[in-house]
């Protein structure tokens, strides 16, 4: 039997497909991009290796690339209460995020949906609250808190965290709210449902993924926050970012434990970057750029 004359070259070459010029180019670009990502992340990986690196290999000149791994730094971290600081960080970030979502969602919706008197001024006030440098806030906060006994309390720090997170949340959520079609809500109103029922049953379900994304960003901001926790916290409420620099002791710096704690603090960040992706650009540009 004759071979069919019209068989394509790709089919006759079996599994080896012909690679087009365009695909070759994109292999090159992909490799360049991977190289860039590697260079950018290399410091993180290098310092990450300090988790298992014995002290002798840390300070070696010339640099030692290979070493006998050790777990001694982990023992130090566990014995010195860092698990507790981890818990404090987590609790504080969770509580403040929960409050932000609770208070912020209706406000963001109101900004997006309704004509308000002084809307621009109010909105700008929210933005300015977010943008103000933390040091400007911490000076009056410190004076107020120390006179009414709120230093080193969960309540005080949660309150302080609301400044940057509630304003951030309202601002970014209202950009998500504006994307919702108003028609659904109007139909529900005409069917005789109350306005608040419409907010709960129609608007909130549509906003669910936006709430999760923005709330997660708030969690990260609270988790990473240093200045407020440093000045307004203390022995009772000590978060991870405040505890880490304390590893710089008078007897020298404990680099190994520092690498472990730093890596621990990276865990929620890693989860967030993979889950949120495009929302991050939107969040970090205050909703100005829709990722």
């Amino acid at each position: 039997m004759n071979q069919p004359a019209m068989s394509s070259p790709a089919a006759t070459q079996g599994p080896i497909k012909r690679i087009s010029r365009q695909e070759r180019v994109s292999v090159v670009w992909t490799l360049v991009l991977v190289a860039i990502a590697f260079i950018v992340l290399f410091p993180v990986l290098w310092v990450g290796s300090f988790m298992f690196r014995p002290d002798s290999a840390m300070f070696a000149r010339p640099t030692e690339w290979l070493f006998e791994p050790t777990l001694v730094h982990f023992r130090y971290v566990i014995e010195n209460g860092f698990i507790g600081y981890l818990g404090t960080s987590f609790a504080l970030a969770s509580i403040s995020t929960f409050l932000v979502v609770l208070l912020g969602t209706p406000a963001a919706y109101a900004f997006a949906r309704f004509k308000l008197r002084f809307r621009d001024d109010l909105f700008l006030f929210v933005l300015a609250t977010r943008m103000a440098p933390p040091i400007c806030m911490v000076i009056p906060f410190y004076m107020i808190f120390s006179s009414i006994g709120l230093i080193d309390t969960y309540f005080g720090l949660t309150l302080a965290y609301l400044t940057f997170n509630l304003s951030f949340y309202i601002w970014v959520m209202s950009s998500f709210c504006r994307d919702l079609p108003v028609a659904l809500e109007e139909v529900a109103i005409l069917e005789g449902h109350s306005r608040f029922a419409v907010f709960l049953r129609v608007v909130l379900p549509l906003l669910r993924s936006a709430i999760v994304a923005t709330g997660m960003l708030c969690f990260i901001f609270a988790w990473n926050e240093f200045m407020f926790a440093f000045m307004l916290g203390g022995q009772q409420v000590k978060t991870l970012p405040v505890a880490v620099p304390e590893l710089i002791t008078t007897q020298g710096v404990r680099w190994g434990p520092m690498a472990i704690v730093g890596t621990l603090s990276l865990v929620p960040v890693m989860i967030a970057v993979f889950l949120l992706q495009k929302h991050i650009v939107r969040g970090l540009t205050m909703g100005a750029v829709k990722g």
């Binding site: 365009q22 994109s26 292999v27 670009w29 991977v34 860039i36 990502a37 950018v40 992340l41 290098w46 310092v47 300090f50 840390m58 010339p62 640099t63 208070l103 209706p106 406000a107 109101a110 004509k115 109010l122 909105f123 700008l124 933005l127 609250t129 943008m131 440098p133 040091i135 400007c136 806030m137 000076i139 009056p140 309150l159 609301l162 509630l166 309202i170 950009s175 109103i189 306005r195 990473n224 000045m231 991870l240 970012p241 880490v244 620099p245 680099w255 730093g262 603090s265 967030a272 970057v273 993979f274 992706q277 650009v281 540009t285 205050m286 909703g287 100005a288 750029v289 829709k290 990722g291």
Partner: protein
């Protein structure tokens, strides 16, 4: 009247959040203003001082130094972030594989705790044994045996480079989002007319991206001005006052020297400056990007 509208309903939705914001934002601001007009000794509020705190602040060389340091910091960091970010965004915009894995990884420097960023670079540039100190700084003879962060000449440059590491990925991904949103038809028309890629970039991409670039640039400028955590961990403002940006100065003034009155005055001025910057950002973003 549209069915959803109502006179009091939106205000009821806003009220809880605004009550909180007034407590956590307006009250501290007004209190800082109150403090700035008083004499304050070791945390105790004394007599009314008029403009004394402000005039002391204006006569202090360190105030002007801090603004100059911030200006230098931004002048080094920002152009690099902008150019590298734009280049990276153009690269991301090519046909590449695995973008959904690489993109999130690139966000890590921007999203990780700034305090950890600081410690990370403290390790990289640790005097004599740090990876970069031993293999680059010493080998090429910039410095011997000490960290770049303790050199009055290099500390600020090194801090700016850390900022570049931290924020270039953000610029890159924001610009990439902008590139993805560009309309296709002008490029088709240009291709039909035989335009080269460089011509398309200069004549189409740059003008179409300009509004976004302005908005991102403003945002980055605002953020760069308030940097604290990384500088606090890496140099704490030193050596001397060579890396003392405004946030560091305010911190040292208030919590190391307890000059609370002056630092409250400083905070009020910075606050007002930021308010102007913010409203500028708001109006530009609203007009140019149709945002908000």
């Amino acid at each position: 009247m549209k069915p959803l509208e109502n006179r009091w309903y939106p205000y009821a939705l806003l009220a809880p959040a605004f009550l909180v914001l007034v407590v956590v934002s307006l009250v501290p601001f007004l209190f800082a203003m109150f403090l700035s007009f008083h004499q304050i000794n070791f945390g105790r509020i004394g007599d009314f001082a008029g403009w004394a705190n402000y005039s002391k602040l204006m006569q202090d060389e360190r105030t002007w130094n801090s603004l100059w340091v911030a200006a230098k910091f931004i002048l080094i960091a920002f152009p690099l972030q902008f150019i590298l970010g734009l280049g990276g965004a153009l690269l991301l915009n090519k046909r590449v594989w695995g973008r959904s894995v690489i993109l999130p990884l690139l966000f890590i420097p921007t999203m990780m705790a700034p305090i950890v960023v600081g410690l990370l670079w403290k390790v990289m540039f640790a005097g004599s044994w740090g990876l970069l100190s031993y293999n680059i700084v010493e080998r090429f003879g910039f410095l011997q045996g000490s960290s770049v962060f303790s050199s009055p000449d290099y500390a600020l440059i090194a801090l700016a480079l850390v900022d570049v590491w931290q924020w270039t990925p953000f610029m890159m991904l924001a610009f990439f989002a902008g590139l993805q949103a560009l309309p296709v038809s002008p490029y088709r028309a240009a291709a039909v007319d035989g335009a080269t890629p460089l011509q398309m970039f200069i004549r189409l991409t740059l003008p179409l991206m300009a509004p976004l670039m302005v908005v991102i640039g403003m945002l980055r400028f605002i953020d760069a001005f308030k940097v604290f955590d990384t500088i606090y961990t890496l140099t704490a403002g030193g050596p001397g006052t060579s890396t003392e940006v405004p946030s560091l100065l305010a911190y040292r003034m208030s919590f190391e020297q307890w000059r609370i009155g002056e630092s409250a005055a400083f905070a009020v001025l910075v606050w007002i400056g930021f308010f102007i910057l913010c409203s500028l950002f708001y109006h530009v973003a609203k007009k140019k990007l149709n945002a908000f």
